[in-house]
């Protein structure tokens, strides 16, 4: 049992640890992040992460 629980915890734990990143947006940007997160049923952080990944990919980082 302990082994199964450890395996599940390991799978559910994100492979890379998250850190807090505070940003200040204008009203339109904030509404976009909130609205998109609500409509997709994901956290606002996920939208920011996707945005960063998209930009990194576009700039080929």
């Amino acid at each position: 049992m302990n082994n199964k629980k450890d395996v599940l915890d390991k799978l559910l734990t994100p492979q890379e640890a998250y850190v807090r990143h505070t940003v200040y947006l204008n009203e339109e940007q904030s509404e976009f992040v909130k609205g998109t997160a609500a409509s997709r049923n994901v956290k606002q952080s996920e939208i920011v992460r996707i945005a960063i990944d998209m930009l990194m990919e576009a700039m080929r980082e």
């Binding site: 890379e16 850190v19 807090r20 990143h21 940003v23 200040y24 947006l25 204008n26 992460r49 998209m54």
Partner: protein
């Protein structure tokens, strides 16, 4: 036609002097003087008037009008352009970024944001705002 009566005989001696003095000589002299003087005066006046007119005309065109075009109009245009620039640029600089968002991102993502923002001489939030705008304009969530 009968012969014209001699006026000197009819009016006496004084009249002779009068008629002699006021005969052809005086009249001609006066006429010559008048004509010459008037001609000279007219020609002088014409010349003077022409020169005044031409000078005034040139002065108006060359100096006054150029001043209007070169200084007054340009200054007005510059002022208007500056005013337009000022009013256009102000909304961008005065835009409020008061929507605080604490996002959980990966370490590599945070390092990327910090590194790229520093490279382009902007703060982290400014770069994230650019990033969000880029995301809004270029990608569509399905």
């Amino acid at each position: 036609m009968g012969k014209r009566p001699d006026m000197s005989k009819r009016m006496g001696r004084g009249a002779d002097i009068f008629f002699e003095d006021t005969s052809v000589l005086d009249t001609n002299k006066n006429n010559e003087k008048d004509t010459i003087e008037s001609t000279n005066n007219d020609s002088k006046q014409d010349n003077i008037q022409n020169s005044i007119k031409s000078d005034a005309h040139h002065t108006n065109e060359d100096t006054t009008q150029h001043k209007d075009k070169d200084t007054t109009l340009d200054t007005t245009l510059d002022t208007k352009q500056y005013t337009n620039k000022y009013t256009i640029e102000m909304p961008d600089t005065s835009e409020l970024y008061n929507e605080r968002l604490v996002a959980n991102v990966t370490r590599s993502q945070k390092k990327y944001v910090e590194r790229t923002a520093k490279k382009h001489k902007m703060n982290n939030s400014e770069f994230v705002r650019f990033m969000i705008d880029f995301f809004i304009e270029n990608f569509e969530l399905k």
